[in-house]
């Protein structure tokens, strides 16, 4: 990318939805912010009238599938997809083949991300060897590696053994790490296919009770507080979970939590036609849960929005419900879904969106150079977003290698127009630069 390193002058963008200003991006930083900035020699001007400027988004939870499932996604296609969604950093979950449970695998993923250079890829390390839930993986080696892993998770599987979870929480403390728990009591969810309730009972699909999530969250909050460790709860999906996390925070537990865009918008009623495009773990819940999640995100009980971007090849979804894979792609629609569910409803300001989608996830992941807001001499990680550009969602038109979007056929209110990673555009005019 020889000639797109800038500098760039962004003309008339509205930082955090505020009044329009110009931003000069030079040498990887925001060099100047002000009105009617002069255009220095050799600067490329980006007209951003009407666009909202946000700090580059940070995703705590994606599945980039490499190594092992390059048919679904690669670090490269995932990075492109992330950039299209306005992300400048993403965490890549450990459930690859092989599992990211050694320094070698996390460094491989980290190097791939660096070479591609479209977005900072932070590997997540597995908590247990092979995600088997039996033996701690070498958390220290992964933390000390070039990848500098700080988030550890067996995501896809729950660290269900209470003693092992306690040890993981304690051990990760030495490296300022956080254990991100996929809260799913395994016995209560054997063969589970969708949220347990009226719809599952009618459809004859084995139910996934809310208590299977809530019981683990309650246990883990108590454990984390007991040993004085940081706990992060992945993809909170029920009202009860929000209540428990609110209670845990009140009593001083160092817990953070994330919610996915799809859990902020979609309900289990969509399963009615048995289309596995709506099959996901944790499952889509009820309207009551959706409203509680939005409220929790608004009042800060839930700290971040994370996509749980989970690409799958077509054949994994074009099948009977019970045979289909769980998961949905989400990077390219995240910001628009948050606008629709949180901003357009008056629950969050753009400033708060920047907190939930950039500052807070960067803080939880201990990610330097991201989530620092838009300020002079700060890193030039910027996303320009048009909140008034409705788009009809079409999975096949996305840049992710897969197309399993549950928002297919819906109209979302806005689009990312440009993304800058350290002053270099990864997306311009709504296309990968």
């Amino acid at each position: 990318m020889p000639d797109n390193h800038g500098p760039y002058l962004i003309r008339g963008a509205r930082p955090l939805g505020g009044d329009p200003v110009d931003l000069l991006l030079r040498d990887g930083t925001v060099a100047q912010i002000g009105n009617d900035l002069e255009v220095p020699e050799g600067v490329q001007v980006v007209d951003a009238e009407g666009l909202i400027a946000l700090p580059g988004l940070v995703d705590l939870h994606t599945h980039l599938r490499e190594p092992g499932r390059e048919d679904a996604e690669t670090v490269e296609t995932g990075s492109r997809s992330a950039a299209m969604g306005g992300f400048t950093a993403v965490h890549a979950m450990a459930n690859t083949h092989p599992v990211a449970d050694t320094a070698g695998v996390v460094e491989q993923v980290w190097h791939l991300g660096r070479e591609i250079g479209l977005c900072d890829v932070r590997p997540v390390g597995a908590v247990t060897v092979g995600l088997a839930g039996a033996q701690l993986s070498e958390i220290g080696a992964m933390a000390d590696s070039a990848a500098q892993v700080r988030v550890f998770s067996d995501d896809g599987k729950c660290v269900s053994d209470a003693l092992l979870m306690r040890r993981a929480l304690e051990y990760a403390k030495a490296f300022d790490g956080v254990v991100a728990q996929h809260a799913q009591e395994p016995r209560l969810t054997e063969g589970a296919q969708m949220n347990e309730g009226c719809v599952s009972d009618r459809l004859g699909l084995p139910g996934w009770p809310a208590v299977a999530e809530e019981a683990i969250i309650a246990r883990d909050c108590l454990l984390a507080q007991h040993v004085g460790s940081r706990l992060h709860v992945c993809h909170v999906s029920t009202k009860g979970s929000v209540d428990i996390i609110r209670w845990a925070k009140e009593r001083g537990c160092d817990v953070t939590a994330e919610v996915t865009p799809h859990h902020l918008l979609l309900t289990d009623e969509l399963v009615e036609g048995y289309d596995p495009i709506y099959k996901v773990n944790p499952p889509l819940r009820t309207e009551e849960d959706v409203l509680a999640l939005r409220e929790g995100l608004a009042d800060g009980t839930i700290d971040v929005v994370a996509t749980d971007h989970a690409p799958h090849p077509v054949e994994a979804k074009e099948t009977e419900w019970s045979n289909a894979a769980m998961g949905m792609v989400g990077l390219e629609t995240a910001l628009a879904v948050v606008q629709r569910t949180m901003v357009d409803t008056g629950l969050l300001t753009w400033e708060q969106v920047a907190d939930r989608m950039s500052a807070a996830p960067a803080r939880i992941g201990r990610l330097d150079g991201h989530g620092r807001g838009l300020s002079e001499s700060g890193p030039a990680n910027v996303v320009l977003y048009d909140p008034a550009a409705p788009v009809d969602v079409d999975g096949t038109a996305m840049v992710t290698k897969s197309s399993n979007t549950p928002f297919r056929g819906m109209t979302l209110p806005g689009q990312v127009r440009a993304t800058f990673l350290r002053g270099v555009p990864t997306v311009l005019e709504g296309k990968n630069a």
Binding site: E196, G197, D201, R202, G204, L205, G207, P209, T319, E320
Partner: protein, 302 residues
């Protein structure tokens, strides 16, 4: 009506039309020449992913009595068992020009999925723990034949409701037809949201029996015991099994039904199974007429 996927899709008129048509077609079975030319030139595919000789044979006989060409596409020994996806199988059937596909599958919703991939009519012959519409229709047909009417009829459905596609289809259909359904089971074998279903629920079979016109016993698999749904087969049958003594507590006109196959000694005693008040074999015979009616109504239009 293009497909028959769920009895919940049928309104009262449609359901009644099916039963009335079955009544007419039942007379064909009594004739010496049992065939009607109605579906001549039409192709019906039986796509069975689960072994069920009874249901498959019933559909086959029904289609043949209407002069349709019948292809049996069973999971065993075909490309289906070699990992071919349901979608690819659907495309194959489509290419063969199937006018109707009768599908039995262990996955709930398989019939729904199939209906998106073929142009012909899809007939759900049992999908996982979801529904079994023709079973419920033949049950209703049997009740109407025996007791004259369905409106106001008190029907107890007893047993493993949670895993029963027969129960789901029956609750929806019988409610539509004006019957009053009571589900009887231990709480472990009832769905958690059963309180929202259009029926009554009881844990006490003995309390329900005297007020029932029909007692439908569902099959209970002994393996459920290993999953802690109940402590032992003996305790289950003590509480929810139908034996001669309990039969004696039912009103004299009341009948005993069972979708088969029965597990004698678990949910039903041999004495009850062999009693003239038990309609099991009648249900089998009615199944053919009822399935003829459904095939006729789905495929018979020009």
């Amino acid at each position: 009506m293009r497909h028959l996927l769920s009895t919940g899709d049928l309104d009262r008129d449609q359901a009644t039309l099916i039963l009335d048509t079955a009544t007419e077609l039942a007379q064909v079975g009594d004739r010496s020449v049992k065939k009607l030319p109605t579906l001549r030139g039409r192709t019906v595919v039986n796509l069975f992913y689960e072994d069920s000789t009874r249901t498959r044979t019933s559909f086959e006989l029904a289609a043949k009595r209407l002069s349709a060409d019948v292809i049996n596409f069973s999971a065993k020994g075909s490309s289906v068992s070699k990992g071919e996806s349901l979608k690819d199988t659907a495309l194959t059937l489509q290419a063969m020009g199937a006018d109707g596909v009768v599908i039995r599958h262990s996955a709930s919703g398989a019939a729904h999925r199939l209906s998106h991939w073929v142009d012909g009519s899809v007939l759900n012959a049992g999908d996982g723990t979801h529904e079994h519409p023709t079973q419920a229709l033949l049950d209703a047909f049997t009740m109407r034949n025996r007791l004259g009417t369905l409106a106001g009829l008190r029907v107890a459905v007893v047993g493993d409701v949670l895993h029963s596609r027969v129960a789901r289809s029956n609750v929806l259909l019988l409610t539509t037809l004006g019957a009053e359904v009571t589900l009887v089971a231990p709480p472990t074998l009832l769905p958690v949201s059963v309180g929202t279903w259009p029926c009554e629920v009881s844990y006490d079979l003995d309390a329900v029996l005297p007020k029932s016109d029909v007692v439908m016993m569902l099959r209970v698999q002994g393996e459920r015991m290993n999953e802690s749904f109940f402590p032992s087969v003996r305790e289950y049958s003590r509480h929810y099994g139908l034996d001669g003594e309990r039969l004696g507590r039912m009103p004299e006109h009341a009948i005993v039904m069972h979708p088969g196959p029965m597990v004698r000694g678990v949910e039903i005693s041999a004495e009850v199974a062999d009693s003239p008040r038990c309609t099991v074999t009648e249900q089998v015979a009615n199944g053919v007429s009822l399935r003829m009616a459904v095939l006729y109504l789905l495929l018979g239009g020009s």
